[in-house]
């Protein structure tokens, strides 16, 4: 089968990313700028800016002179790289063989894939259309060799397809720069009047090689398919996945659990072989009508304990709607971490020993059903504001008994009102207040303790200024109340209870 390769080139990836993040810039000229030494230059420009005459590499000062309404944004190369990785991975929908070309191009080896998309033309059209819908400007070329596809993408008409029989003809009119040559070689060829690739076809190879180096001849051969060019394909991350297909659809919970147990054992073997453990497992139950339910469970630390994981799934399988029956079950470990030692059961990071405890097991179960943000451990935080003095962590990840609270918090109430309750009719001199519809008499006990807001946080609750906290005891119910007066508004609030 003849090799076929698509080359995609994203000439303004950084600018496209910026436009995607800020849709309000639509229709405005945008440039992503970068600094080199003390020069600020344009790193990427969007289409509007290109039509205004701006090009990447231009100095910002001259760009501003040409186009006064230019919107700029500084480049974030790391984020661009991540964005590019996502796009490259997305291209895998067309073919499993994806190779990156630097940081702005992708080769897709579509050999034998085009018929799945109704032919090459429809396939390339689909690529372009979808990428355009993502807001990306892209240029593409499709040819029998990566070199030719690259030349078509960068210098040819956009989305050109070079038929296998007419590869040389399709390249003939493209500039020699399309051969991916070093800058000086291109310059020299141009000076000699060899401006197009076609002009090189008839020249004797030996003298070309002697004059411009072997590399140039090799590039030409690669483009025309006379020399092979292996691509460095991105290998898809190894999948930890187990699939069970049923001849007859199943619907009983016991059957599902039995199949799940088998899948878990299957997955366990794969994980053991690679010395990995999974932190998150996704179970997809595909039904007869092709609808699927997905169950995701997480664990605090990498695990491959089939029984323990089955128990976590067990809670979630309750009340599962099997519809007309389940046809296929796919279990996949979506978060993988190295787990060297053979683990007997679900481990927990208590004291970093990695030893499984019944507590960690319990916390995993609770967190999987109630949500990881509903099962919490607490640690003291660096703040003297009562609301900010505590940090809560998901108990599945932060061990119990980690950071002790200081004894200084002895003067704090054991219950806190959120938000504080306004004591409408409180006059300290008389010592009467209305609380929950009752008249209360209070006696002053201790205070005041002044707490001032943290000026570096603009906290709406602390707009009233510094607070003077008092502990008072209510004569009627004998409850200890933690109340405060706001400095600016002179209003009184109930913030906590000491009983």
């Amino acid at each position: 089968m003849k090799r076929r390769v698509i080359c995609l080139w994203f000439p303004a990836l950084a600018a496209d990313r910026a436009m995607r993040q800020t849709p309000s810039w639509q229709g405005k000229p945008l440039a992503v700028i970068a600094e080199s030494g003390n020069k600020v230059y344009l790193h990427a420009v969007n289409q509007v800016a290109t039509s205004e005459g701006l090009t990447p590499g231009m100095l910002l000062a001259s760009a501003r002179a040409t186009c006064p309404g230019l919107v700029t944004r500084s480049a974030d190369m790391a984020a661009d790289g991540r964005f590019f990785t996502v796009i490259a991975a997305w291209c895998r929908r067309y073919s499993p063989l994806i190779a990156r070309d630097g940081q702005e191009g992708v080769f897709i080896d579509i050999t034998g894939c085009a018929h799945l998309f109704n032919g090459e033309e429809a396939m390339l059209g689909d690529v372009m259309q979808r990428l355009a819908r993502f807001g990306l400007s892209v240029r593409a070329g499709l040819a029998g060799t990566p070199g030719a596809a690259w030349a078509l993408a960068h210098y040819g008409e956009n989305a050109t397809i070079a038929p296998p029989s007419r590869l040389a003809d399709s390249l003939a009119n493209l500039p020699v720069a399309g051969l991916r040559l070093a800058g000086e070689t291109t310059d020299m060829l141009n000076r000699l009047g060899l401006r197009t690739i076609g002009a090189l076809y008839g020249l004797p190879r030996a003298s070309l090689a002697a004059r411009f180096g072997r590399e140039m001849v090799e590039r030409l051969d690669q483009a025309l398919g006379a020399a092979s060019e292996p691509l460095d394909f991105d290998m898809e991350a190894k999948k930890f996945r187990a699939i069970a297909r049923f001849a007859e659809p199943i619907g009983r919970l016991e059957d599902v659990e039995a199949a799940l147990a088998r899948l878990l054992r299957n997955l366990r073997e794969k994980l053991v072989k690679e010395a990995r453990g999974s932190r998150r497992l996704t179970l997809r139950l595909v039904k007869v009508d092709n609808s699927a339910s997905t169950i995701i469970i997480g664990t605090a630390s990498p695990s491959r304990d089939a029984d323990g994981l089955a128990r976590l799934f067990h809670d979630r399988l309750d009340g599962l709607d099997a519809g007309f029956g389940i046809e296929r079950m796919v279990l996949e470990a979506t978060v993988i971490e190295p787990a060297e030692d053979e683990q007997g059961a679900l481990p927990h990071t208590s004291g970093k020993t990695g030893i499984s405890t019944p507590l960690s097991h319990l916390l995993d179960r609770l967190a999987n059903r109630l949500g990881f943000d509903s099962v919490l451990t607490v640690a003291p935080a660096e703040s003297h504001l009562p609301e900010r003095a505590v940090t809560a962590f998901s108990a599945a990840f932060a061990p119990v008994g980690n950071t002790p609270f200081p004894l200084a918090s002895m003067t704090r109430p054991s219950r806190l009102f959120e938000p504080p309750q306004w004591l409408a009719a409180f006059t300290p001199a008389i010592g009467e207040m209305r609380l929950w519809g009752n008249k209360r008499c209070v006696r002053m006990m201790a205070g005041p303790e002044r707490i001032t807001p943290e000026w570096w946080h603009d906290d709406a609750a602390w707009r009233g200024g510094a607070r003077d906290y008092w502990w008072v005891e209510d004569k009627t119910s004998n409850q200890r109340l933690w109340i405060y007066r706001e400095e600016n508004t002179e209003r009184w609030f109930l913030h906590g209870l000491g009983n």
């Binding site: 405890t357 019944p358 507590l359 097991h361 319990l362 916390l363 179960r365 609770l366 059903r369 109630l370 509903s374 099962v375 919490l376 451990t377 607490v378 640690a379 003291p380 009562p386 003095a389 505590v390 809560a392 108990a395 119990v400 008994g401 980690n402 950071t403 002790p404 609270f405 200081p406 004894l407 918090s409 002895m410 003067t411 704090r412 109430p413 054991s414 219950r415 806190l416 009102f417 959120e418 309750q421 006990m445 005891e473 004569k475 009627t476 119910s477 004998n478 409850q479 200890r480 906590g496 209870l497 000491g498 009983n499």
Partner: protein
């Protein structure tokens, strides 16, 4: 190496001796106050459900949580949702009751069904020293006898004491409690926190009432005086009557 072995051996022996000296099975969560412990045979029985209500219920719960000496799971309703109270446990304040909040696991449940499930799992796991179920549901309905029985069985299976806490005074929420305590705040002498404790239900023995004081620095409860001898206070008059 041998020295270390020797020390471990001695430690184990000491533990054994201490257990023997205290004269009660370790499966009791004691109050650390002879007067009360005597009535309940050394403390709250592990593997049983207990109930505390009244305005000082949390104080007593936190004291017991501190005395349990291990991880404590505290189940409550998700704040801001229907059925949750407008005030909630504030971990730093636990220190004053001798309970180190780093030992605390807070669990928030959206409804009572989840609350019961979480408590049952926690009790059964045997991984905790105490499981607290805070039920401040505004609906005020009691827990059904079936649910209560399930929790009781879970507590037995995990040999963990369970404590149902509610602020409603005079109102039993948990029908099958082994002991039920009424804790009301009492007027203090200005320094230490006082509460009037009343044992209103005790399946294994008699009831009782005490006026106790919590000493934050020494971290122990002590009996102040018989509550009926303090006139001129509504809460006490009620208790005395």
């Amino acid at each position: 190496m041998r020295k270390v072995d020797h020390i471990t051996g001695l430690r184990q022996r000491m533990e054994k001796l201490e257990r023997g000296l205290s004269g009660m099975p370790s499966a009791r969560l004691s109050f650390g106050l002879g007067a009360i412990d005597d009535v309940v045979e050394g403390g709250l029985a592990a593997g049983r459900m207990h109930e505390v209500n009244g305005l000082a219920a949390w104080s007593l719960t936190l004291v017991l949580a501190g005395r349990s000496g291990g991880p404590v799971l505290w189940c409550a309703r998700t704040p801001g949702k229907a059925g949750s109270s407008d005030h909630r446990l504030y971990p730093p304040g636990c220190v004053a009751f001798g309970f180190q909040p780093s030992q605390l696991v807070q669990v928030f449940c959206a409804n009572r069904q989840e609350l019961l499930w979480a408590c049952e799992e926690a009790l059964r796991s045997a991984a905790l020293s105490l499981v607290v179920m805070e039920d401040t549901g505004n609906d005020g309905s009691a827990i059904s006898l079936t649910a209560a029985r399930r929790l009781q069985l879970a507590a037995e299976a995990g040999r963990t004491p369970g404590l149902v806490v509610s602020m409603e005074p005079e109102k039993a929420v948990f029908p099958a409690a082994t002991t039920r305590w009424q804790a009301s705040p009492a007027p203090s002498d200005g320094s230490h926190l006082r509460m009037a404790l009343q044992l209103t239900r005790n399946r294994a023995g008699r009831g009782g009432q005490w006026m106790v004081e919590w000493n934050e620095t020494a971290r122990h409860l002590s009996v102040v005086s018989s509550p009926c001898r303090r006139p001129g206070n509504a809460a006490n008059a009620q208790l005395a009557g």
